[in-house]
């Protein structure tokens, strides 16, 4: 599958990354190459094979329902570029 220019720009927009035309041209080739490389896997017959979800046989770890975290509002907003009364402050976002 070829990744065209429009797809590159679409992905960039979804990722909120500005991509110049020069960059888009480069990504077009790189992304197409990656996809084509992965597409080789389609040659393998995987009928009836369960997708692999783990390397070693193990179950997902579960926790008990206990409150043992939080209460660290200072730490949570410590790196925020802008904050007020422990809120993150961001440019106005209203739909």
């Amino acid at each position: 599958m070829k990744v065209d220019r429009a797809t590159v720009q679409h992905i960039a927009r979804l990722a909120r990354i500005t991509v110049s035309d020069d960059e888009a041209a480069r990504f077009e080739g790189e992304l197409s190459g990656i996809i084509e490389w992965v597409e080789q896997l389609e040659e393998v017959d995987t009928d009836g094979v369960e997708p692999m979800t783990r390397v070693v046989e193990m179950a997902m770890t579960q926790r008990d329902d206990e409150v043992n975290d939080g209460g660290i509002a200072d730490d949570i907003v410590a790196n925020a570029p802008e904050k007020a009364d422990h809120f993150f402050v961001v440019p106005k976002v209203v739909e």
């Binding site: 979800t53 926790r63 329902d65 939080g70 007020a84």
Partner: protein, 497 residues
């Protein structure tokens, strides 16, 4: 029972009848102490970012660990909806950017949800029962909260809600009217509250619905739908459906086309508005979350949870009708709220069930309505009201007096017995005591006794005398009976004077 055109509510347009088709996605906050993937508290109303762990804030390197209780709550809900429980389910990342979503993705379940198809049966009164299919139920994280009114050009973000477990419960497009949509959400809320898996508090946002509406000519294929996001009251759901269906019919009859889009319901204006027309809005690029292994349940776990399920509203309603001989509508009203049903059971134990039901749906509901209280905060609990019913049953107070006593109980919180004793409201039905007073009155008034033999209507004078001497507490019927017997007067009130 199938919800076909016969039971649907068609709307009339210029080009004929239209059928409304509605499907609902309900987001129900799971009752748990801590979040779905972190140990931070789920308590409502905490100070900003005080209930946030480094996992909820999506700090680099933090890993999610699932809360066992949230999983069990989802299974419990699935069983309560008579749904298939999937022993293996998978968490996926739903990718989008928003300031209240620090991860840049929501952990949700896309292709393999924990609960599959189920069913809710709606009691539509006259219309009969309507079966609504459940498509699926999956677990996901809630987002944080943005406040837009704190600053003219900034939004404030609080992540306390971020990471709290939600159940998204998706119905099939089986609903055909605003009324059915409202009854569906009310019934789902009732079931969740019975199960204890969601508190159903719509004001605090514990239960909110996305409403999908389309219209079609009866028998046609499904029309293009619009999704009305985050409607947070049952009344608004009804209003949103009616407005949206009328809007779509008008567009189609004018030769226009419905654009599939997300809309917002504005309760003040009573209308829906387009929220975003970005075509890319739904490109979520789901993929399995590499931080989480598949969620596996054993059949034994499911069976254990099933064995512990409480009695659900439909079963309870059937039992109230079968064992306590309640009318269908009365039983329906009592089971609609778990707290009401429990109050009723406590009150009816060892008492006349219909009397208990009448007092709850009449006096108690009236009082709670006036005081704007829910039954769990009633100033008169089931034991206290029970004591009053017992006084009536013993004949100690009349039905009329009981209502006055109940008013005083509401106002003062005093026990019924104390109020009756303190205010001397006790009705005297003790025939011995009354007889003695009657004898005194007869002995003291020979002239009147002579007169009443020819003019039976003057019996009322004797009743008055007896009531006066007993301070109004004698049971008037008993007084009447005793007087008639002693004065040898028949029951016929119309005897010629």
């Amino acid at each position: 029972m199938p919800n076909d055109a016969r039971t649907s509510h068609l709307i009339e347009g210029d080009t004929g009848s239209w059928e409304i088709v509605i499907g609902l996605e309900v987001h129900a906050q799971v009752v748990s102490k801590s979040k779905l993937f972190s140990g931070a508290s789920t308590e409502f109303g905490g100070s900003p970012n005080a209930q946030v762990s480094l996992v909820d804030a999506a700090m680099p390197g933090m890993l999610p660990v699932i809360n066992r209780e949230c999983v069990e709550q989802a299974v419990r809900t699935g069983l309560g909806l008579n749904a298939q429980i999937n022993l293996v389910s998978v968490f996926d990342r739903k990718n989008y950017f928003y300031p209240d979503l620090p991860q840049g993705y929501q952990i949700s379940q896309f292709t393999k949800p924990i609960v599959g198809e189920g069913e809710i049966v709606l009691d539509m009164g006259e219309e009969g029962e309507v079966s609504v299919g459940i498509e699926r139920l999956h677990l996901e994280q809630d987002a944080g909260k943005s406040l837009h009114d704190q600053h003219p050009d900034h939004s404030y973000v609080d992540l306390n809600r971020s990471g709290i477990a939600l159940m998204e419960i998706v119905s099939k497009p089986d609903l055909r009217s605003a009324e059915q949509a409202k009854v569906y959400v009310a019934k789902l809320r009732t079931i969740l509250r019975y199960l204890g898996t969601c508190d159903g508090n719509m004001e605090e946002g514990s239960l909110r619905a996305d409403v999908n509406v389309s219209v079609r000519k009866p028998g046609d294929e499904l029309g293009t739908r619009c999704e009305i996001k985050n409607v947070n009251s049952i009344r608004f759901i009804g209003e949103a459906v009616d407005y949206e269906a009328a809007r779509q019919v008008e567009i189609l009859e004018d030769g226009g086309e419905i654009i599939q889009e997300t809309r917002l319901f504005d309760p003040d204006a009573g209308e829906t508005r387009s929220m975003r027309s970005k075509e890319e809005a739904h490109d979520y690029r789901y993929f399995p979350d590499p931080d989480l292994l598949p969620l596996e349940l054993s059949q034994d776990d499911v069976e254990r949870i099933k064995a512990e399920l409480p009695e659900l509203p439909d079963a309870r309603k059937a039992r109230f009708m079968r064992e306590l001989a309640l009318e269908h509508d009365v039983a329906e009203r009592l089971v609609a709220d778990r707290d009401v049903a429990e109050y009723f059971e406590a009150l009816a134990r060892g008492r006349d069930a219909n009397l208990a039901a009448n007092w709850i749906t009449g006096e108690l509901f009236g009082a709670l309505n006036k005081l704007d209280l829910t039954i769990d905060r009633s100033p008169v609990d089931a034991n206290q009201l029970g004591a009053l019913l017992d006084l009536m049953d013993d004949g100690a107070v009349s039905g009329r007096t009981a209502k006055d006593v109940f008013e005083t109980m509401l106002a003062t919180g005093q026990p019924a017995g104390e109020i009756v004793a303190a205010q001397g409201l006790e009705q005297v039905s003790d025939t011995g005591a009354i007889e003695q007073v009657v004898d005194e009155v007869i002995a003291a008034n020979p002239d009147q006794v002579e007169q009443v033999k020819s003019k039976p209507k003057t019996l009322g004078w004797f009743v008055g005398q007896v009531m006066q001497k007993t301070g109004g507490k004698a049971n008037p019927q008993t007084v009447n009976d005793i007087l008639r017997r002693k004065l040898e007067i028949g029951d016929d009130q119309d005897q010629d004077s």
